[in-house]
Protein backbone atom coordinates (compact mmCIF):
# COMPACT_ATOMS: atom_id res chain seq x y z
CA UNK A 1 0.00 0.00 0.00
CA UNK A 2 2.77 2.46 1.00
CA UNK A 3 4.81 1.80 -2.17
CA UNK A 4 1.74 2.35 -4.19
CA UNK A 5 1.31 5.77 -2.64
CA UNK A 6 4.89 6.83 -3.40
CA UNK A 7 4.83 5.83 -7.04
CA UNK A 8 4.45 8.76 -9.45
CA UNK A 9 1.28 8.70 -11.46
CA UNK A 10 0.70 9.88 -15.00
CA UNK A 11 -0.91 13.11 -13.74
CA UNK A 12 2.17 13.87 -11.63
CA UNK A 13 4.43 13.75 -14.68
CA UNK A 14 2.15 16.14 -16.53
CA UNK A 15 2.27 18.62 -13.65
CA UNK A 16 6.07 18.31 -13.29
CA UNK A 17 6.66 18.95 -17.00
CA UNK A 18 4.23 21.85 -16.88
CA UNK A 19 6.01 23.45 -13.90
CA UNK A 20 9.44 22.97 -15.50
CA UNK A 21 8.30 24.58 -18.75
CA UNK A 22 6.90 27.60 -16.89
CA UNK A 23 10.13 28.06 -14.92
CA UNK A 24 12.31 27.78 -18.03
CA UNK A 25 10.15 30.33 -19.87
CA UNK A 26 10.29 32.74 -16.92
CA UNK A 27 14.07 32.40 -16.63
CA UNK A 28 14.55 32.97 -20.35
CA UNK A 29 12.43 36.09 -20.18
CA UNK A 30 14.48 37.32 -17.27
CA UNK A 31 17.77 36.67 -19.11
CA UNK A 32 16.59 38.48 -22.19
CA UNK A 33 15.36 41.49 -20.33
CA UNK A 34 17.22 44.72 -21.11
CA UNK A 35 19.16 43.07 -23.90
CA UNK A 36 17.64 44.88 -26.85
CA UNK A 37 19.79 46.31 -29.58
CA UNK A 38 19.63 50.03 -30.09
CA UNK A 39 21.24 52.69 -32.19
CA UNK A 40 21.81 56.09 -30.65
CA UNK A 41 21.95 58.96 -33.13
CA UNK A 42 23.32 62.28 -31.93
CA UNK A 43 22.96 65.45 -33.98
CA UNK A 44 23.79 68.90 -32.74
CA UNK A 45 23.99 67.62 -29.15
CA UNK A 46 20.57 65.91 -29.24
CA UNK A 47 20.39 62.15 -28.99
CA UNK A 48 17.56 59.91 -30.18
CA UNK A 49 17.44 56.16 -29.84
CA UNK A 50 15.99 53.67 -32.32
CA UNK A 51 15.57 49.92 -32.15
CA UNK A 52 17.83 47.92 -34.46
CA UNK A 53 15.00 45.48 -35.12
CA UNK A 54 12.95 48.12 -36.91
CA UNK A 55 13.78 47.26 -40.48
CA UNK A 56 14.45 49.79 -43.21
CA UNK A 57 13.90 52.85 -41.13
CA UNK A 58 15.44 55.67 -43.07
CA UNK A 59 16.19 58.82 -41.16
CA UNK A 60 16.76 62.14 -42.78
CA UNK A 61 18.62 63.80 -40.00
CA UNK A 62 17.81 67.32 -41.11
CA UNK A 63 14.13 66.44 -41.35
CA UNK A 64 12.22 68.31 -38.69
CA UNK A 65 10.16 65.27 -37.80
CA UNK A 66 13.23 63.36 -36.70
CA UNK A 67 15.61 66.04 -35.57
CA UNK A 68 15.20 69.74 -35.64
CA UNK A 69 18.66 70.32 -37.01
CA UNK A 70 17.63 72.19 -40.15
CA UNK A 71 19.33 75.35 -38.97
CA UNK A 72 22.69 73.56 -39.03
CA UNK A 73 22.40 72.94 -42.78
CA UNK A 74 23.51 69.34 -42.47
CA UNK A 75 22.14 66.31 -44.29
CA UNK A 76 22.96 62.79 -43.19
CA UNK A 77 20.83 59.85 -44.24
CA UNK A 78 21.15 56.99 -41.80
CA UNK A 79 19.67 53.61 -42.73
CA UNK A 80 18.73 50.90 -40.25
CA UNK A 81 18.31 47.62 -42.11
CA UNK A 82 18.35 43.99 -40.96
CA UNK A 83 20.00 44.91 -37.69
CA UNK A 84 22.73 46.88 -39.48
CA UNK A 85 23.19 50.62 -39.64
CA UNK A 86 25.01 52.62 -42.31
CA UNK A 87 25.32 56.16 -43.61
CA UNK A 88 23.68 56.25 -47.03
CA UNK A 89 24.67 59.80 -47.89
CA UNK A 90 25.89 62.99 -46.28
CA UNK A 91 26.71 66.52 -47.37
CA UNK A 92 30.04 66.60 -45.53
CA UNK A 93 33.23 67.40 -47.48
CA UNK A 94 35.28 64.32 -46.52
CA UNK A 95 32.60 61.58 -47.00
CA UNK A 96 34.43 59.46 -44.44
CA UNK A 97 31.13 58.50 -42.81
CA UNK A 98 29.63 57.27 -46.11
CA UNK A 99 32.65 55.02 -46.75
CA UNK A 100 32.32 53.47 -43.29
CA UNK A 101 31.14 49.86 -43.18
CA UNK A 102 27.76 48.91 -41.70
CA UNK A 103 27.79 48.66 -37.93
CA UNK A 104 25.89 46.23 -35.71
CA UNK A 105 28.06 45.34 -32.71
CA UNK A 106 28.07 46.94 -29.28
CA UNK A 107 30.21 50.07 -29.19
CA UNK A 108 30.67 50.34 -32.95
CA UNK A 109 30.28 53.87 -34.30
CA UNK A 110 30.03 55.92 -37.44
CA UNK A 111 31.10 59.50 -36.93
CA UNK A 112 30.55 62.35 -39.34
CA UNK A 113 33.06 64.78 -37.87
CA UNK A 114 32.34 67.78 -40.12
CA UNK A 115 28.58 67.56 -39.47
CA UNK A 116 29.01 66.45 -35.85
CA UNK A 117 26.74 63.44 -36.31
CA UNK A 118 27.36 60.34 -34.18
CA UNK A 119 25.80 56.94 -34.80
CA UNK A 120 26.48 54.41 -32.09
CA UNK A 121 25.32 50.87 -31.35
CA UNK A 122 24.24 49.66 -27.95
CA UNK A 123 23.59 45.97 -28.15
CA UNK A 124 24.28 42.44 -27.04
CA UNK A 125 26.62 41.37 -29.84
CA UNK A 126 30.00 41.78 -28.22
CA UNK A 127 32.70 43.70 -30.04
CA UNK A 128 36.20 42.29 -29.98
CA UNK A 129 37.67 45.77 -29.75
CA UNK A 130 37.45 48.03 -26.70
CA UNK A 131 38.22 51.39 -28.27
Amino acid sequence: MLEDKLRLKKGDYVVIIFVVIIIVVLLCMNLNRKQGNYVHITVDGMTKTYSLSENEVVLFVNDKQVFDASHTGITNTIVIENGQVYMKNANCPDQVCVKHKSISKHGEMIICLPNKVFVEIEGNIANEIDN
Binding site: L8, I16, L31, P93, H100, K116, F118, E128, N131
Partner: protein, 356 residues
Protein backbone atom coordinates in the same frame (compact mmCIF):
# COMPACT_ATOMS: atom_id res chain seq x y z
CA UNK B 1 -0.92 17.48 4.88
CA UNK B 2 -2.43 14.32 3.65
CA UNK B 3 -2.18 15.73 0.13
CA UNK B 4 1.53 16.45 0.52
CA UNK B 5 2.16 13.10 2.08
CA UNK B 6 0.40 11.37 -0.77
CA UNK B 7 2.35 13.29 -3.37
CA UNK B 8 5.61 13.35 -1.47
CA UNK B 9 7.76 11.94 -4.24
CA UNK B 10 6.20 14.32 -6.72
CA UNK B 11 7.05 17.31 -4.53
CA UNK B 12 10.59 16.11 -3.93
CA UNK B 13 11.23 15.75 -7.63
CA UNK B 14 9.72 19.15 -8.44
CA UNK B 15 11.66 20.97 -5.74
CA UNK B 16 14.89 19.30 -6.86
CA UNK B 17 14.36 20.43 -10.46
CA UNK B 18 13.47 23.97 -9.42
CA UNK B 19 16.61 24.15 -7.28
CA UNK B 20 18.84 22.91 -10.09
CA UNK B 21 17.38 25.41 -12.55
CA UNK B 22 17.65 28.34 -10.15
CA UNK B 23 21.20 27.41 -9.25
CA UNK B 24 22.36 27.16 -12.86
CA UNK B 25 20.59 30.40 -13.68
CA UNK B 26 22.38 32.36 -10.98
CA UNK B 27 25.65 30.59 -11.70
CA UNK B 28 25.49 31.70 -15.34
CA UNK B 29 24.58 35.25 -14.36
CA UNK B 30 27.41 35.51 -11.90
CA UNK B 31 29.95 34.15 -14.36
CA UNK B 32 28.88 36.42 -17.23
CA UNK B 33 28.90 39.53 -15.10
CA UNK B 34 32.20 38.68 -13.42
CA UNK B 35 30.65 38.66 -10.00
CA UNK B 36 29.85 42.39 -10.05
CA UNK B 37 27.30 44.33 -11.97
CA UNK B 38 29.71 46.50 -13.96
CA UNK B 39 27.99 48.81 -16.39
CA UNK B 40 29.53 50.06 -19.59
CA UNK B 41 28.61 53.54 -20.64
CA UNK B 42 29.76 55.00 -23.96
CA UNK B 43 30.01 58.76 -24.50
CA UNK B 44 30.89 60.49 -27.73
CA UNK B 45 31.68 64.04 -28.68
CA UNK B 46 34.11 66.42 -30.31
CA UNK B 47 36.97 68.22 -28.57
CA UNK B 48 40.43 69.42 -29.55
CA UNK B 49 39.32 69.32 -33.18
CA UNK B 50 38.82 65.57 -33.14
CA UNK B 51 36.33 62.82 -32.26
CA UNK B 52 36.24 61.72 -28.63
CA UNK B 53 34.93 58.36 -27.46
CA UNK B 54 34.82 57.36 -23.81
CA UNK B 55 33.84 53.89 -22.66
CA UNK B 56 33.47 53.96 -18.90
CA UNK B 57 33.17 50.85 -16.69
CA UNK B 58 31.54 51.70 -13.38
CA UNK B 59 29.10 50.08 -10.99
CA UNK B 60 26.91 53.16 -10.97
CA UNK B 61 25.75 55.08 -14.03
CA UNK B 62 25.64 58.41 -12.19
CA UNK B 63 29.35 57.99 -11.54
CA UNK B 64 30.01 57.43 -15.27
CA UNK B 65 27.99 60.53 -16.14
CA UNK B 66 29.96 62.61 -13.67
CA UNK B 67 33.30 61.31 -14.94
CA UNK B 68 32.23 62.00 -18.53
CA UNK B 69 31.51 65.65 -17.72
CA UNK B 70 34.76 65.96 -15.80
CA UNK B 71 36.77 64.69 -18.78
CA UNK B 72 34.95 67.07 -21.13
CA UNK B 73 35.84 70.02 -18.93
CA UNK B 74 39.49 68.99 -18.82
CA UNK B 75 39.68 68.63 -22.60
CA UNK B 76 37.99 71.97 -23.13
CA UNK B 77 40.40 73.66 -20.75
CA UNK B 78 43.41 72.08 -22.45
CA UNK B 79 42.11 73.10 -25.88
CA UNK B 80 41.65 76.68 -24.71
CA UNK B 81 45.19 76.60 -23.44
CA UNK B 82 47.17 75.01 -26.29
CA UNK B 83 45.15 75.33 -29.51
CA UNK B 84 46.83 77.28 -32.31
CA UNK B 85 43.35 77.87 -33.75
CA UNK B 86 42.13 79.82 -30.74
CA UNK B 87 43.43 83.36 -30.67
CA UNK B 88 43.26 83.59 -26.91
CA UNK B 89 45.11 80.38 -26.11
CA UNK B 90 48.38 80.52 -24.23
CA UNK B 91 50.18 79.17 -27.30
CA UNK B 92 48.56 81.61 -29.75
CA UNK B 93 49.39 84.54 -27.50
CA UNK B 94 53.00 83.36 -27.25
CA UNK B 95 53.25 82.96 -31.04
CA UNK B 96 51.74 86.32 -31.86
CA UNK B 97 53.42 88.48 -29.25
CA UNK B 98 56.83 87.05 -28.35
CA UNK B 99 59.88 89.29 -28.62
CA UNK B 100 63.02 87.68 -30.07
CA UNK B 101 65.43 87.00 -27.23
CA UNK B 102 62.92 87.81 -24.49
CA UNK B 103 61.72 85.40 -21.83
CA UNK B 104 58.14 84.09 -22.15
CA UNK B 105 56.54 82.59 -19.05
CA UNK B 106 54.58 79.40 -19.64
CA UNK B 107 52.28 77.13 -17.61
CA UNK B 108 53.83 74.05 -16.05
CA UNK B 109 52.07 71.54 -18.31
CA UNK B 110 53.00 73.46 -21.49
CA UNK B 111 56.61 73.72 -20.40
CA UNK B 112 56.75 70.03 -19.49
CA UNK B 113 55.34 69.24 -22.92
CA UNK B 114 57.93 71.39 -24.67
CA UNK B 115 60.76 69.81 -22.73
CA UNK B 116 59.72 66.33 -23.87
CA UNK B 117 59.34 67.60 -27.45
CA UNK B 118 62.76 69.25 -27.43
CA UNK B 119 64.29 66.04 -26.14
CA UNK B 120 62.69 64.07 -28.97
CA UNK B 121 63.88 66.72 -31.44
CA UNK B 122 67.43 66.35 -30.15
CA UNK B 123 67.40 62.55 -30.06
CA UNK B 124 66.00 62.28 -33.59
CA UNK B 125 68.39 64.92 -34.94
CA UNK B 126 65.56 67.12 -36.12
CA UNK B 127 63.06 64.58 -37.45
CA UNK B 128 60.59 66.08 -35.01
CA UNK B 129 60.04 69.73 -34.19
CA UNK B 130 57.97 71.43 -31.47
CA UNK B 131 57.80 74.57 -33.63
CA UNK B 132 56.79 73.15 -37.01
CA UNK B 133 53.72 75.37 -37.28
CA UNK B 134 55.28 77.77 -39.88
CA UNK B 135 55.58 74.77 -42.26
CA UNK B 136 52.18 73.24 -41.38
CA UNK B 137 50.34 76.52 -41.81
CA UNK B 138 52.01 77.28 -45.14
CA UNK B 139 50.81 73.97 -46.60
CA UNK B 140 47.40 74.39 -44.90
CA UNK B 141 46.40 70.75 -45.53
CA UNK B 142 44.20 70.62 -42.44
CA UNK B 143 42.44 73.75 -43.68
CA UNK B 144 41.77 72.13 -47.05
CA UNK B 145 44.55 73.62 -49.21
CA UNK B 146 45.76 71.20 -51.90
CA UNK B 147 48.85 72.61 -53.59
CA UNK B 148 52.63 72.59 -53.17
CA UNK B 149 53.80 75.91 -51.71
CA UNK B 150 56.34 78.24 -53.23
CA UNK B 151 59.89 76.92 -52.73
CA UNK B 152 61.45 80.20 -51.53
CA UNK B 153 58.66 80.71 -49.02
CA UNK B 154 59.04 77.12 -47.84
CA UNK B 155 62.78 77.60 -47.25
CA UNK B 156 62.02 80.62 -45.04
CA UNK B 157 59.51 78.58 -43.08
CA UNK B 158 62.00 75.74 -42.61
CA UNK B 159 64.38 78.20 -40.92
CA UNK B 160 61.58 79.35 -38.59
CA UNK B 161 60.78 75.74 -37.70
CA UNK B 162 64.24 74.94 -36.35
CA UNK B 163 64.01 74.01 -32.67
CA UNK B 164 67.64 75.09 -32.24
CA UNK B 165 66.16 78.54 -31.72
CA UNK B 166 64.22 77.51 -28.62
CA UNK B 167 65.92 78.02 -25.29
CA UNK B 168 64.29 76.62 -22.16
CA UNK B 169 64.83 78.74 -19.07
CA UNK B 170 63.31 78.58 -15.61
CA UNK B 171 59.48 78.75 -15.88
CA UNK B 172 59.55 79.74 -19.55
CA UNK B 173 61.23 79.79 -22.96
CA UNK B 174 63.21 82.19 -25.13
CA UNK B 175 62.68 82.19 -28.91
CA UNK B 176 65.75 83.35 -30.79
CA UNK B 177 64.33 83.74 -34.29
CA UNK B 178 61.57 85.79 -35.88
CA UNK B 179 58.31 84.29 -37.18
CA UNK B 180 58.55 81.18 -35.05
CA UNK B 181 55.42 79.41 -33.84
CA UNK B 182 55.14 76.70 -31.22
CA UNK B 183 52.53 74.00 -31.93
CA UNK B 184 51.74 71.24 -29.44
CA UNK B 185 49.53 69.52 -32.02
CA UNK B 186 51.85 66.52 -32.32
CA UNK B 187 51.59 65.80 -28.59
CA UNK B 188 48.34 67.49 -27.53
CA UNK B 189 46.18 64.37 -27.71
CA UNK B 190 48.75 62.29 -25.84
CA UNK B 191 49.03 64.98 -23.18
CA UNK B 192 45.23 65.02 -22.93
CA UNK B 193 45.29 61.22 -22.30
CA UNK B 194 47.80 61.74 -19.46
CA UNK B 195 45.62 64.43 -17.89
CA UNK B 196 42.49 62.27 -18.19
CA UNK B 197 44.35 59.37 -16.58
CA UNK B 198 45.37 61.52 -13.61
CA UNK B 199 41.78 62.56 -13.24
CA UNK B 200 40.41 59.02 -13.46
CA UNK B 201 42.75 57.97 -10.67
CA UNK B 202 40.88 60.33 -8.35
CA UNK B 203 37.56 58.60 -9.08
CA UNK B 204 36.06 55.26 -8.03
CA UNK B 205 35.52 53.98 -11.59
CA UNK B 206 37.30 50.71 -12.25
CA UNK B 207 38.10 51.06 -15.92
CA UNK B 208 37.81 53.19 -19.03
CA UNK B 209 38.97 53.49 -22.60
CA UNK B 210 39.21 57.06 -23.82
CA UNK B 211 39.98 57.75 -27.49
CA UNK B 212 41.09 61.26 -28.32
CA UNK B 213 41.65 61.24 -32.07
CA UNK B 214 44.66 59.00 -32.70
CA UNK B 215 45.55 58.59 -29.01
CA UNK B 216 43.82 55.91 -26.95
CA UNK B 217 44.07 55.63 -23.18
CA UNK B 218 43.36 52.25 -21.56
CA UNK B 219 42.77 52.74 -17.85
CA UNK B 220 42.17 50.22 -15.05
CA UNK B 221 40.31 47.02 -15.92
CA UNK B 222 37.02 45.83 -17.31
CA UNK B 223 36.18 43.82 -14.23
CA UNK B 224 36.96 40.47 -15.86
CA UNK B 225 40.72 40.62 -15.39
CA UNK B 226 41.31 40.42 -19.14
CA UNK B 227 43.51 42.68 -21.27
CA UNK B 228 42.12 45.62 -23.17
CA UNK B 229 41.90 45.01 -26.91
CA UNK B 230 42.94 48.17 -28.73
CA UNK B 231 42.13 48.23 -32.43
CA UNK B 232 44.61 49.92 -34.76
CA UNK B 233 43.03 51.68 -37.72
CA UNK B 234 43.74 50.15 -41.14
CA UNK B 235 45.68 52.96 -42.89
CA UNK B 236 44.46 51.98 -46.36
CA UNK B 237 40.85 51.02 -45.63
CA UNK B 238 38.72 53.90 -44.44
CA UNK B 239 35.64 51.79 -43.74
CA UNK B 240 36.38 51.46 -40.03
CA UNK B 241 38.10 48.08 -40.36
CA UNK B 242 41.09 47.50 -38.14
CA UNK B 243 44.58 46.59 -39.23
CA UNK B 244 45.10 44.60 -36.06
CA UNK B 245 44.55 44.46 -32.34
CA UNK B 246 47.04 45.15 -29.55
CA UNK B 247 46.29 43.53 -26.19
CA UNK B 248 47.36 45.82 -23.38
CA UNK B 249 46.89 45.83 -19.64
CA UNK B 250 45.63 48.96 -17.91
CA UNK B 251 47.21 52.39 -17.83
CA UNK B 252 48.90 52.72 -21.21
CA UNK B 253 48.34 55.02 -24.14
CA UNK B 254 48.45 53.84 -27.76
CA UNK B 255 49.05 56.68 -30.23
CA UNK B 256 48.94 56.27 -33.99
CA UNK B 257 50.25 58.61 -36.67
CA UNK B 258 49.40 57.90 -40.29
CA UNK B 259 49.28 59.48 -43.72
CA UNK B 260 45.54 58.79 -44.06
CA UNK B 261 43.98 61.38 -41.76
CA UNK B 262 44.33 64.61 -43.74
CA UNK B 263 45.91 64.62 -47.18
CA UNK B 264 45.51 65.58 -50.82
CA UNK B 265 46.70 63.84 -53.96
CA UNK B 266 48.54 65.42 -56.86
CA UNK B 267 49.89 63.54 -59.90
CA UNK B 268 49.36 60.25 -58.08
CA UNK B 269 51.35 61.33 -55.03
CA UNK B 270 49.88 61.70 -51.57
CA UNK B 271 50.64 64.87 -49.62
CA UNK B 272 49.69 64.31 -45.97
CA UNK B 273 49.84 66.33 -42.75
CA UNK B 274 52.97 64.89 -41.07
CA UNK B 275 55.92 67.02 -42.15
CA UNK B 276 59.64 66.41 -42.10
CA UNK B 277 61.00 69.60 -40.46
CA UNK B 278 64.23 69.31 -42.46
CA UNK B 279 62.74 69.07 -45.98
CA UNK B 280 59.54 70.98 -45.26
CA UNK B 281 57.66 68.30 -47.21
CA UNK B 282 55.34 65.55 -45.96
CA UNK B 283 57.49 62.74 -44.57
CA UNK B 284 58.23 60.19 -47.27
CA UNK B 285 60.20 57.37 -45.73
CA UNK B 286 58.13 54.37 -46.76
CA UNK B 287 55.80 54.31 -43.75
CA UNK B 288 52.03 54.73 -43.84
CA UNK B 289 51.33 54.31 -40.11
CA UNK B 290 53.16 54.03 -36.80
CA UNK B 291 51.58 53.15 -33.43
CA UNK B 292 53.48 53.57 -30.18
CA UNK B 293 52.49 52.02 -26.82
CA UNK B 294 53.78 53.78 -23.71
CA UNK B 295 52.86 54.55 -20.09
CA UNK B 296 53.18 58.19 -21.08
CA UNK B 297 50.65 59.57 -23.55
CA UNK B 298 52.89 62.52 -24.24
CA UNK B 299 55.76 60.26 -25.23
CA UNK B 300 53.62 57.85 -27.26
CA UNK B 301 52.16 60.75 -29.26
CA UNK B 302 55.52 62.45 -29.88
CA UNK B 303 57.26 59.18 -30.78
CA UNK B 304 54.58 58.02 -33.22
CA UNK B 305 55.03 61.28 -35.16
CA UNK B 306 58.84 61.21 -34.88
CA UNK B 307 59.06 57.56 -36.01
CA UNK B 308 56.75 58.23 -38.93
CA UNK B 309 59.31 60.77 -40.18
CA UNK B 310 62.34 58.61 -39.29
CA UNK B 311 61.20 55.59 -41.29
CA UNK B 312 61.21 51.90 -40.39
CA UNK B 313 64.84 51.20 -39.57
CA UNK B 314 65.71 54.33 -37.61
CA UNK B 315 62.27 54.44 -36.02
CA UNK B 316 62.61 50.84 -34.83
CA UNK B 317 66.01 51.60 -33.28
CA UNK B 318 64.67 54.72 -31.64
CA UNK B 319 61.66 53.10 -29.95
CA UNK B 320 63.89 50.32 -28.65
CA UNK B 321 66.24 52.93 -27.25
CA UNK B 322 63.30 54.60 -25.53
CA UNK B 323 61.99 51.29 -24.16
CA UNK B 324 58.53 51.54 -25.69
CA UNK B 325 56.64 49.16 -27.99
CA UNK B 326 55.53 50.00 -31.52
CA UNK B 327 53.82 48.78 -34.70
CA UNK B 328 55.16 50.02 -38.05
CA UNK B 329 53.22 49.69 -41.30
CA UNK B 330 55.13 50.20 -44.56
CA UNK B 331 53.74 51.32 -47.91
CA UNK B 332 54.45 47.85 -49.33
CA UNK B 333 51.85 46.58 -46.85
CA UNK B 334 54.22 44.93 -44.39
CA UNK B 335 53.72 45.17 -40.64
CA UNK B 336 56.64 45.17 -38.22
CA UNK B 337 56.24 44.98 -34.43
CA UNK B 338 58.74 45.39 -31.60
CA UNK B 339 59.76 42.31 -29.57
CA UNK B 340 57.50 43.13 -26.63
CA UNK B 341 54.43 43.13 -28.87
CA UNK B 342 55.11 39.87 -30.76
CA UNK B 343 52.63 37.98 -28.60
CA UNK B 344 50.29 40.89 -28.03
CA UNK B 345 49.64 42.02 -31.58
CA UNK B 346 47.13 40.18 -33.77
CA UNK B 347 46.92 41.07 -37.45
CA UNK B 348 43.27 41.23 -38.54
CA UNK B 349 43.46 42.42 -42.15
CA UNK B 350 44.69 39.99 -44.81
CA UNK B 351 45.79 42.86 -47.04
CA UNK B 352 48.96 43.06 -44.91
CA UNK B 353 51.80 40.70 -44.05
CA UNK B 354 53.16 40.47 -40.53
CA UNK B 355 56.97 40.28 -40.77
CA UNK B 356 58.31 37.97 -38.07
Amino acid sequence: MRFIARHRKFFNVTIAIVCILLFSFFAIRTITSGGHEVRTQVYTGIAMGTAIKKTIYAEDITVSDRVDKMIDETLQELENQISVRKNNSEISKLNSSYVTGGTNKLSDNVLQCLEVEIQVWRETEGAFSPCIYPITSLWGIEEGLAEIPDEALLQERILSSDANNIEVVEDGIILNQENMAIDLGAVGKGLACDMVKEQLMQTEIRGAVVSIGGSILAYGDKGDGKDWHIGIQDPRNQTGEVLGIIDVDGDVVVSTSGDYEKYFELDGKRYHHIFDPITGYPADNGLISVSVVSDSGLLSDALSTACFVLGLEEGMNYVQEKGVEAVFVTSDMNVYVTKGLKKKFRLKSDEYTLVK
